[in-house]
């Protein structure tokens, strides 16, 4: 795997928009064009070259070193190839990701993977609110792909999510799966309060819920075949990092009955 490495010279003094740093976009530009791109968010142009030193040769991956939480839209619109980030990222990392892999070896800000429709986002640390969530102007939040977070996820993971899978090795904050219309959110350490508020369809999986809405109906213990498929899918997508297979039986709660109520909250362990 070859690719360019961008090392931040120092912490940026303003928010940056790094949506240009994908293998495809880099392949379209000469190095000088690339380094002249404006990545700043003020009236004064801030060139990519002012912020980063580049090394390596163009290829199917991009590496960003010294990233901070002021760097927004990292890996957005990625279609193929890999973007690896050493450090933290800001808002909307992996926005509209369609394929490939975004590998964040730090924490991510809000709206991680909003609008993602394919590919994978891996986060070593924790993520902010609205993981895979809806950004104004989107019909839905996440519509496909996989987001796997080693740490915790903030509130409202999967807001208005339609498809795809969010896997959180740690805890999910409150209101996970709010307004969700499909897809799966799986936490190993449990949900905060009121998960699945206005959940229309989709699946929330976790060992516990801090506070359950009254509009989730207890449907009893079940061996749910689709969970076996999900476990296999996770194993194939994440390899050794995959979670251990779900138990044979889970407690199913159907909801949110405040709306069409075709979703489910599954309590494991």
């Amino acid at each position: 795997m070859s690719g360019l490495t961008f090392r931040a010279n120092s912490a940026p003094s303003e928010r940056l928009n790094l949506s240009h740093l994908t293998p495809k976009r880099i392949a379209e530009l000469s190095q000088s064009e690339l380094m002249a791109l404006n990545v700043g968010t003020t009236t004064k142009t801030l060139k990519l070259g002012d912020v980063f030193t580049v090394s390596g040769s163009a290829g199917d991956s991009v590496r960003i070193e010294g990233a901070t939480n002021r760097m927004d839209f990292v890996g957005s619109d990625l279609k193929e190839g890999t973007v690896i980030v050493e450090g933290d990222v800001g808002l909307s990392a992996g926005r509209n990701l369609r394929g490939g892999r975004l590998d964040i070896r730090g924490d991510a800000g809000a709206l991680l993977g909003s609008g993602i429709s394919g590919g994978e986002i891996l986060v070593k640390g924790s993520a902010g609110s609205l993981v895979g969530g809806l950004s104004p102007g989107d019909k839905f939040g996440m519509t496909g792909g996989l987001i796997a977070i080693d740490g915790d996820a903030g509130d409202r993971a999967g807001d208005r999510m339609r498809r795809g899978t969010i896997y959180v090795r740690g805890r999910c904050g409150s209101f996970a799966g709010s307004r969700m219309v499909g897809g799966t959110i799986w936490t190993e350490l449990g949900f905060g309060t009121d998960p699945g508020m206005l959940l229309r369809r989709g699946t929330l999986i976790g060992p516990s819920v801090e506070r359950m809405l009254p509009t989730f109906a207890d449907a009893g213990d079940h061996d749910i075949v689709i969970l076996r498929i999900l476990s296999r899918y996770m194993a194939s997508a994440l390899g050794s990092a995959a979670p251990k297979a779900l138990p044979g039986k889970v407690r199913k709660f159907a909801g949110d009955l405040a709306t069409i109520g075709k979703g489910e909250l599954l309590i494991t362990s």
Binding site: P136, G137, D138, K139
Partner: protein, 555 residues
């Protein structure tokens, strides 16, 4: 300051000029008679180019609450069309519901110098005018909506004296600073508030007992007797419902000689033939219109793509909301005055229904033989954004282009329309009527829409081009009140246009009843409901032009 446009090929139907080469002289913002002795300060050589008056859009939703709701609802509509400021122009956004400044710039860049908001709620008039005040380069005006307002319906139910109702109509036009009046789903918006879900022409309003027919006739006759030039602007019952052509035909017949303008008639020309129970009623409409010279129409042409429908017709919009794309819509009941519904929509060329809507619009254009009675509109943004006009003009002027375009639309749809058989091509003269002289005459804009002496010097100069779309989308020059504001399709100077109003006479006593009504029921004082001239003029931002009305009569 004398300006001369030399040697252009002039199409000026109001003055019976059909493509003749003429020089046009402009002094102090107005067109003046040729004066060979006058000293010309600035001469523009427009030889070989086509000269027309600035175009007038008589029905385009450019201001008011519903447009701003649409803007809020669909940020993604703007994401794809963000426009940076320049030295002279402001930043903004385009697309189906463009921001106000961009609306002004883009209309001007297409050769339009006047545009009329056709659905101003009295309760929202102040905002509508504020938005139009932020729409540069265009003269504008608004049609105020009555017909589902409780004051009128009460008055009709109580069988108030007709002069009283006329006073109310006139007062409303004054209070809201309107040039004309529109009725939208007559009585239906109000009926919806009473949980009535449908109201046909002769169906009774569940609470007031009046029918849409009563309302249309009352308002149409009222406006006629008040001497308002533009007849009642009617968005009829049953918009969008297959079979509504019957309602529309009945509405035309109901006029009994009264003048009426039927707007976005495409949406009201649906018959029920075929397996899908959906077919074109354009032929029936066109035939009947020949017998009713008192009726004018605009089309509300549908063009393919994403747009947002915004209408006062809360009843029909609520019904149509199930087809919203994206599934995100707003319906409102407003101030015992009216309502609104904002429903995003995507017209697809492969869809049977949408392709047929497209065909019906074109059919209507091609079947109606009197261009003085049909105006070119897409009901922006309901049928399509106004930027599609040049494309539409090409479809009308270029048969081959039309045929080629038909190859890409749902073929089954074309079987339920006569469009494939229509050979007509609009002439330049007819286009000039439909987009200038006709609307100006219909709206009573005495010095707009023509380039004869005395006219305001709103002039558009086009490069002659057999590709009419290219020709009409990027004029060589546009003059607004004699100022060259657009060159080669780009704004080079920004000026403000005027606001046109009509002020029919009324008896001030009406305010006694109104005052009592407002005090008893309303949350706004009558005095504050009225919009003052100062609010429009607003520190030099605008100018008000009062267009003449005929003397008030009584029947």
């Amino acid at each position: 300051m004398m300006i001369k446009l030399t040697g252009g090929k002039v199409y000026d139907p109001a003055n019976n000029v059909n493509g003749e080469v003429r020089d046009i002289y402009v002094r102090d913002g107005r067109i003046v008679a040729a004066d060979p002795d006058a000293r010309v300060d600035q001469e523009y050589d427009v030889r070989g180019k086509v000269v027309m008056a600035g175009a007038i859009d008589p029905h385009t939703h450019i201001g008011g609450g519903k447009v701003t709701i649409a803007r809020t609802l669909l940020p993604e509509d703007h994401f794809k069309d963000e426009v940076a400021h320049t030295e002279i122009t402001r930043a903004g956004t385009g697309y189906a519901t463009p921001s106000t400044m961009i609306t002004g710039y883009r209309y001007a860049e297409m050769g339009y110098t006047a545009a009329f908001e056709p659905a101003m709620l009295p309760a929202n008039a102040r905002q509508a005018h504020m938005e139009m005040g932020d729409t540069p380069l265009l003269d504008k005006g608004a049609f105020v909506m009555l017909g589902s307002d409780d004051f009128l319906l009460r008055s009709m139910a109580e069988k108030q004296d007709f002069e009283f109702i006329k006073d109310y109509i006139a007062w409303t036009m004054h209070a809201s600073q309107a040039i004309a009046m529109k009725v939208v789903n007559p009585g239906g918006i109000s009926a919806f508030k009473f949980n009535q879900r449908k109201l046909d022409l002769d169906e009774q309003h569940v609470h007031y007992g009046v029918t849409p027919r009563d309302i249309i006739l009352t308002l149409a006759r009222g406006l006629l007797e008040l001497g308002v030039t533009h007849p009642l602007h009617v968005h009829g019952c049953n918009l969008g419902i297959p079979g509504n052509v019957e309602t529309t035909l009945a509405t035309i017949k109901a006029t009994e000689g009264l003048p009426l303008h039927l707007t976005h008639i495409q949406f009201h020309s649906y018959a029920t033939e075929g397996d899908r129970k959906f077919s074109s009623g354009a032929v029936q409409i066109a035939e009947l219109l020949k017998k009713y010279p008192n009726i004018s129409i605009d089309v509300g042409q549908v063009m393919f793509g994403a747009t947002c429908t915004a209408s006062g017709d809360s009843m029909r919009q609520y019904n149509g909301a199930k087809n919203a794309d994206p599934k995100r819509w707003v319906v409102m009941d407003i101030e015992c005055d009216a309502g609104c519904g904002v429903v995003p929509f995507r017209y697809r060329d492969k869809s049977f229904v949408h392709a047929l809507q497209w065909a019906i619009g074109l059919e209507t254009f091609l079947l109606c033989d009197d261009p003085w009675r049909i105006f070119l509109t897409t009901d922006h943004p309901n049928g399509a954004p106004f930027y599609t006009y040049p494309h539409l003009i090409r479809l009308l002027m270029d048969r081959d282009f039309r045929r080629e375009t038909m190859l890409h639309v749902n073929p089954d749809a074309l079987m339920y329309s006569t469009l494939p058989h229509l050979e007509r091509e609009y002439t330049m003269y007819e286009v000039a009527i439909m987009t200038r002289a006709g609307p100006a005459r219909s709206l009573g804009l005495k010095d707009l829409g023509h380039v004869g002496p005395g006219a305001r010097a709103d002039i558009t100069v086009y490069n002659e081009d057999s590709n009419r779309e290219r020709m009409f989308e990027k004029p060589a020059m546009v003059f607004k009140n004699g100022d060259l504001v657009v060159r080669d399709g780009k704004v080079i100077k920004v000026v403000n246009g005027a606001t046109h109003v009509a002020r029919p006479e009324y008896n001030r006593d009406i305010e006694k009843s109104l005052k009592s009504y407002f005090d008893r029921y309303h949350t706004v004082r009558m005095e504050n409901f009225r919009l003052s001239d100062d609010e429009i003029i607003d520190g030099g931002r605008g100018e008000i032009i009062v267009q003449p009305t005929r003397a008030r009569t009584s029947s």
